[in-house]
Symmetry: C2
Subunit: 279 residues, 2 copies
């Protein structure tokens, strides 16, 4: 139900104020797969700022500006540059999405909840989340959503959690559309670079290419030979890439007390962080 290359209303038929859900939406066993577009929200998101390089609320924790650009400390004695100014404090996670009626999501939730347990398993959520071109979300994006929104550690998503998750993805969809300037429904390398700059990342061209290729290729791996891969990053992989980058950056900043863009970590610290970032 997420994604949407289309900006028009033609894919919203399952969603437009269903004040009365269909009699047995879950009995068919096929949940509606409705891509989310910004148009689903009752009120539009605030217009993008003229200066796209401001920090977006979904990324309240940008890296310091010198990350990746400072001179390396020399070996073996660390001759570090003076600590640069600290990055801005992280604002509270805002997710300033409009105040739509959560009940309009209930038919979708109930249809996806084929187990009738009142909360979505990973598999149920995964079958419900689709991009604008109706490709499924990558399993890791689904896992990420559960990790972020499963507030009671049940490994499942209750309806309230689902409403939050859906709003979060709608906000991401708004961002995705903003950076998909050619309206291809995919994020190109250049569009990805612009997005990262807008999020406050100053990364080298080679690294941005590695990052882009890493996530774009996940889409190619997922689509078998029957589905010729489209160029560019799909919505769910754009979200996954940005959240992954954010998580990795947060870990790095936790160790980089002096904000010089270099950290010193022990063997077990290194192993532990990698293990946690892999989940």
């Amino acid at each position: 139900m997420i994604g949407a290359m289309q900006t028009g209303p033609q894919h919203h038929h399952n969603q437009s104020k269903p004040s009365r859900p269909s009699p047995n939406p879950s009995s068919s066993g096929v949940p509606p797969r409705v891509p989310v577009t910004s148009a689903h929200m009752n009120k539009p998101l605030p217009a993008p700022a003229a200066n796209q390089h401001r920090t977006h609320p979904l990324h309240p924790s940008p890296p310091p500006q010198n990350y990746g650009f400072g001179p390396p400390p020399s070996q073996p004695v660390r001759n570090r540059p003076q600590p640069s100014s600290r990055p801005p404090r992280s604002p509270n996670p805002p997710l300033a999405v409009p105040d739509d009626d959560p009940q309009q999501l209930f038919p979708l939730f109930r249809a996806a909840n084929t187990s009738h347990t009142g909360s979505l398993t990973e598999m149920e959520l995964g079958s419900a989340l689709v991009n604008g071109d109706f490709t499924s979300f990558h399993p890791k994006t689904v896992k990420m959503m559960i990790r972020i929104f499963d507030r009671n550690s049940s490994k499942t998503i209750s309806f309230d959690e689902f409403v939050s998750l859906w709003r979060y993805l709608a906000a991401w969809r708004e961002l995705f559309d903003r950076f998909d300037v050619d309206r291809s429904g995919r994020i190109s390398l250049q569009e990805f670079e612009n997005a990262l700059l807008a999020f406050g990342y100053r990364l080298s061209q080679p690294f941005v290419t590695v990052l882009f290729t890493t996530f774009e290729s996940k889409g190619r791996q997922r689509n078998g030979p029957a589905h010729p891969a489209k160029m560019g990053m799909s919505f769910d992989l754009f979200v996954q890439a940005c959240i992954s980058l954010r998580r990795m950056t947060d870990v790095f900043k936790r160790y980089d007390d002096d904000r010089d863009g270099y950290i010193t970590v022990s063997f077990e610290e290194f192993l532990t962080e990698i293990l946690q970032l892999q989940d």
Copy 2:
């Protein structure tokens, strides 16, 4: 076809010298799922050394003995301990497994290759690899096998690559059986600790517990409520844990020139390594 809690020959019926494969093994669409045991090999592996703490050939790259135990360098001036002795040079990857007849694997390979393309896709390999209790391999273990054995970067596994892969897993099975001292078919925390020690790792108790729990819980996540989770680490997750630890250690050692158990990495180095370790 991998794993095997059983040490007897009762599960080898599809495998014992099939000089003439069944007429249409692949036409049924159901590949035989034969767990590998050490008994599948024509010759047994060399008996375990009396001193199990020797370096096992599957782990030719143990970390230095002080990893995780040295004093941390003080901040901000690095007051590092004297570099310890370098770890032993990595021997050539040996995989000293017996010289069985590869042709006995062909019926298995052909049955798994439902696409009849002559090489196994990730999905085909995943459907063919099973543990001793006939649970499937974790998808990430399957991906690891392809990464290791797909020598021509085809993303698939040819028959020759499959033979190598199977021998590799058989050697791992031998190791697994060696450390599964209570013959439970699972590796307990204590058995895992013993294995890591034997591989040359000196890790803190809390970290070993984190590592064990991380991989053991992957088995629980995979088995839904219909399959009550067994305690301990299955064969495929033991392999995955050990290979993951090995890869992370190799990355760490690449940066730890002075072998003091601490590395200093830049932001982009950190991000790049994590991305690569996640694939």
